[in-house]
């Protein structure tokens, strides 16, 4: 005991820490100066998240006596078969729906309507207008046409945004094709060599921090795993409920919009609002009256209610308990830093940082860090 001294960052320790974090720093700097690497990095991130989804079935097969390699291969074969079935059965249908949806939106520009049709006819097309004009007349103090202009403007804006979104989807489709091929390929090796990757990343940790870093790594790994799996369950349930509901309400392109709502739900708070927009706009174009639109809104609210009451508590038992305000700020920051992917990754990254900070502060109090 006499030889031991309390912890202080000795030069050797500082050097070993720099040595450990140097590749990470070089990687971050490279990424900053070569933004073209964004796609590669995003593929890597998505593959890592995807591997979290595949680990439970692989481990379950391992538990039943298969080797890691065989288990991983079997899971990927099943996944491939599911993908082929989807591509063969559903995708053409969804693709046709998406193309038709885009065409419908392209044809129904509000300005064209204003130019070609008489104002009275537009009010017929959008049944709400007549009611709004009456309301204006009965109130008296509002100049005539205010509601009409405002609704037209909002409608126009919504259409523009949706067309923009669909155009963006069209632009990124080639990237998506590359992603669909490359991500499972990377994920296969991440799942198969998970233990070797873990050992490799931990091998550079200085001895004095080894047990502590391993604990932090495991907690972060567990949190991200729970979050990603919860998110996948939530997205599937929401997509099924929404598509089913839209189908019952006779909303056109029910499957496409249902899948979009499920995918949008991946981003907390912001996602449900963005997901609801296409359904509302499409229903408005299709029916031109208020009641079906209100029914769609009610359905979306009901799905959100089911999500919050039944799905979320089961899917995310205790994985990410963060204050809603922090969640919103983190999502906005993620969106500004790395776009769509940033918004999806914002929560797990922020929660991981939080775990690292809280575990590190706990460790500083509890470990003696003798060298």
């Amino acid at each position: 005991m006499s030889e031991s001294k309390s912890w202080a960052p000795t030069p050797r320790l500082v050097v070993s820490l720099i040595h450990y974090f140097l590749p990470l720093i070089i990687f971050a700097v490279t990424l900053y100066f070569i933004p073209e690497l964004y796609h590669l990095v995003s593929m890597l991130f998505i593959a890592v998240l995807f591997s979290y989804l595949l680990r439970p079935p692989v481990e379950s097969l391992e538990h039943r006596g298969f080797s890691r390699y065989t288990s991983t291969a079997l899971v990927f074969v099943v996944l491939f078969l599911i993908l082929v079935t989807l591509l063969g059965g559903f995708i053409p249908h969804i693709y046709n729906q998406a193309i038709n949806l885009r065409r419908t939106l392209g044809e129904l520009e509000m300005e064209e309507l204003l130019e070609e049709e008489e104002p009275g006819e537009i009010e017929e097309v959008l049944g709400i207008m007549g009611y709004l004009s009456e309301l204006e007349r009965s109130l008296g103090f509002i100049p005539e046409g205010t509601f009409h202009d405002q609704v037209s403007y909002a409608y126009d804006w919504g259409l523009q945004q949706l067309t923009l979104l669909l155009l963006t989807i069209g632009r990124i489709l080639p990237h998506v094709a590359v992603y669909v091929v490359v991500i499972p390929f990377i994920a296969f090796f991440i799942v198969r060599d998970q233990q070797a990757i873990e050992t490799f990343f931990l091998s550079g940790v200085p001895n004095v921090f080894f047990e502590m870093i391993y604990q932090i790594y495991n907690k972060v790994d567990q949190k991200i795993g729970e979050y990603v799996r919860g998110l996948a369950i939530e997205a599937v349930v929401i997509a099924l409920l929404s598509a089913g509901g839209f189908w019952l309400l006779d909303v056109p392109y029910a499957i496409t919009i249902g899948i979009f709502v499920g995918l949008a739900n991946v981003v907390p708070y912001v996602g449900p609002v963005v997901g609801a927009l296409p359904a509302i706009i499409v229903q408005l174009i299709e029916t031109g009256s208020a009641l079906p639109v209100i029914m769609v809104m009610l359905l979306i609210l009901l799905v959100q209610l089911i999500d919050n009451i039944a799905v979320k508590p089961v899917a995310f038992s205790q994985s990410m308990s963060m204050h809603p305000l922090i969640v919103v700020i983190v999502i906005i920051a993620g969106g500004q830093l790395a776009g769509m992917l940033g918004m999806v990754l914002a929560i797990p990254v922020a929660a991981s940082l939080w775990v690292i900070i809280s575990e590190f502060s706990w460790a500083v109090k509890n470990y003696r860090f003798e060298t």
Binding site: G65, A196, L202, N207, V208, Y214, Q215, N366, Y367, R368
Partner: protein, 217 residues
Amino acid sequence: MEIRDGLKDVNMGGYFMPGYTKEGKKILNDIKEKIKLYWCDLRGMVVEWWEQIHEPEDPEAQELIDLLSDIEVFSGLRSSQYLALADYLHERQFTKGESIFSEGDPATAMYIICNGRVELSCPAVKQMDGSYLESGNIFGELALCCEHRRMYDARTRASTKTLVLFRKGLERFVYRNPSAGLKVHGNLTAHIGQQFLKIRQENLRLNQQDSEAEVNE
């Protein structure tokens, strides 16, 4: 009684579906258990035969298997199971005089000494002074069983290479390799039980010494 005799029609809201009686279910479960046992035996035989004709050619792997098989906690596993366990072991190199862990640190891992020398010391227990461990010895094994704090200091007395097995790592190994995991847990229980008995005997001896000293006074 045959499985055919254990069948009955089950009423499912007006529709009758084939089902099993209680005896039928019992027979079915027995058959399932037998198939499971036969499958395990067959698999074990095939793996053993495969390992006999495919001895690991890598000398490092063989060295690792030799080291692990000599450790009481890991004895009785097959070569492939030792190699599977190796995936969960982290290699650590310590210089002479370096601290491995200190008394009071949260205990999360067990250490296996590959080569070198480690001294365990605890100011409260004088009997521990000068207890050195060498190649093939383990320490900190209680960390594999439960959450607690280290009860002694561990410091190297020569350049030392160790393998580290974390509690979480062992949990994963047990889940992914249940039969090997069961053996390791059995060995670990026996090892900790023996340690407990030794401590108990030592405690009794010391109590006896104290009472004899009191009588003499």
